[in-house]
Structures are given as C-alpha cells and as structure tokens.
C-alpha cells in the first residue's frame, strides 16, 4: 500500500482538477505520445494503438478518482500499489499533453531544469505550468512511497 500525507488548499485542487479534466478531454481517443509501432503489420498496429488508448484511459480514470475524492488534500491518502502505478502513469500522460498543448514555448532545458519564471508567462500558461508542476510533485511523492531509493533524484 502507498500511504501519503497531503495537505492542499481546496481552491488549488479545484483549479488543478479543471486543468486535468481539460487535458483528459483532449486525450479522448488519443494518446499523449504518438507511439512508434512495427511498420509491416496493419492489424498489429490497430490492436497496439487500441490497447494503449484503453490502458491510458484506465489510468486516467484512477487519477480523476483520486483528485475528485472529497478527502484528497485533507491528510492521509492511501492507495493500493496498482492504483498508485496507474496514477503516476496518468500524471505522465497529462504532463506530456500539457507540454504539447500549452507549454511548447518552453524549451526542453527549461522544463528539465525547472528554470521557468512562472510570473513571466501569460496567465493561461501559468495555470498549465502550475498543473504540470503539481502533477510532477504528486508523482514524486508516490514514487518515493513505491520505491524509497527514488528519493535520491
């Protein structure tokens, strides 16, 4: 089991949930990253893509379940390990989507090194970047619970 202690402002949660939902809607029937697939088998490609989409939406459903829970951000958050894995995968997918849809003006280096002056960004980009960071923080906390050796990063 993954057991976190999280205290978050309820307004922040509502704002983040709205942004995650918007990103999720834009992923409806799509993938966060266009997958590279074997080129010589059309049937395999279709099955491959369909399975990835199904897995993505399974993971996103768990992320939304966590964020929509009335007790989220009010203290203890307990998840089964499989659910925690779904949540971290969904966080990655949403972050990739946010990068593609709203944060393309930021360079790879800026994103990798978190060298972004958030106040210098337009308001809508500020919100998306805040959501991007929020999901990264949630991922980090869960990953450390899943594997304490990840704390070194």
């Amino acid at each position: 089991m993954v057991n976190l202690s999280l205290f978050l402002d309820s307004h922040l949660i509502v704002a983040m949930l709205e942004l995650v939902k918007a990103a999720t809607e834009s992923l409806n029937g799509h993938l966060a990253v266009e997958p590279q697939m074997p080129e010589d088998d059309e049937d395999l490609q279709m099955a491959w893509q369909a399975d990835l989409i199904e897995a993505l939406h399974y993971d996103i459903d768990y992320l939304l379940l966590v964020l929509r829970d009335h007790d989220f951000g009010k203290g203890e958050l307990i998840m089964e390990e499989g659910v925690a894995e779904s949540v971290v995968r969904a966080c990655s997918a949403i972050r990739l989507k946010l990068r593609e849809s709203a944060l393309l003006k930021l360079t790879d280096d800026q994103l990798e090194n978190a060298e972004v002056d958030i106040l210098s960004l337009p308001t809508d980009m500020q919100q998306c970047y805040a959501c991007y960071l929020f999901l990264a923080s949630l991922q980090s906390l869960i990953l450390i619970e899943l594997d304490p050796s990840c704390e070194e990063f």
Binding site: A32, V33, P35, Q36, P38, L44, W48, D51, L52, A55, L56, E85, V88, R89, S92, A93, R95, L96, R99, D108, D109, L111, E112, A136, Q139, S140, L143, I144, L146, D147, S149, C150, F153
Partner: protein, 99 residues
C-alpha cells in the same frame, strides 16, 4: 510429382526464413523526453525489466545524457512486448533491427 516437388522446394525455404527471423536481433531503445522525471524513468526500468537500482539508474542517465539507451536485445516478439509496455508507461520507446 509436381506437388511433391513443390513441397520439397517450399519446405526448406520456410524453414530458412524462420531461422533467419529467429536469428535477427531486435533492440529496445528508450528515447529522451523533457517531461518524465528521472525517478519515474528509473522506476519504470525496474518494473519493466526487473533492473536493480544501479542498472536502472545507469540506463536513465544514458537516456538523459545521450538521448537514448539500449535497454534490451533479443527476438522480435519479446522486443515488441517490451516496447508496448514502455509506451503504456508513457516513455518514448522504439525497436530497431540489428545491423
């Protein structure tokens, strides 16, 4: 006679193609992206390939510093399964034929 001859001719070709397919090495490659966290990538490598911390960390740093890392080599079917699993974890993974 003709059918037999065709069978005699066809069988070795099929066997040969099968042997060639099994002999070809496929590489599973993970490419860098600016989004996924280092800790996340390490966790994925541990879970997908069963790596210990040091091996997973080494591959993660290769991806980060060189833009790509070769994670596994072997038969095509298993390489496809690894790439598919890595893509479910939202990593940019691909497979390349040896040579």
């Amino acid at each position: 006679m003709k059918i037999t001859a065709q069978a005699e001719k066809t069988t070795p070709v099929t066997a040969s193609e099968t042997k060639i397919a099994l002999d070809i090495l496929w590489h599973v490659i993970v490419l860098n992206d600016p989004v996924n966290l280092m800790s996340y990538v390490v966790t994925v490598f541990k879970r997908v390939f069963g790596h210990n911390h040091e091996t997973a960390r080494k591959h993660m740093l290769e991806v980060h510093e060189n833009g790509r890392s070769l994670l596994w080599s072997g038969q095509r079917e298993k390489a496809e399964a690894y790439v598919h699993t890595l893509q479910k974890w939202q990593l940019t993974a691909t497979m390349e034929q040896d040579g």
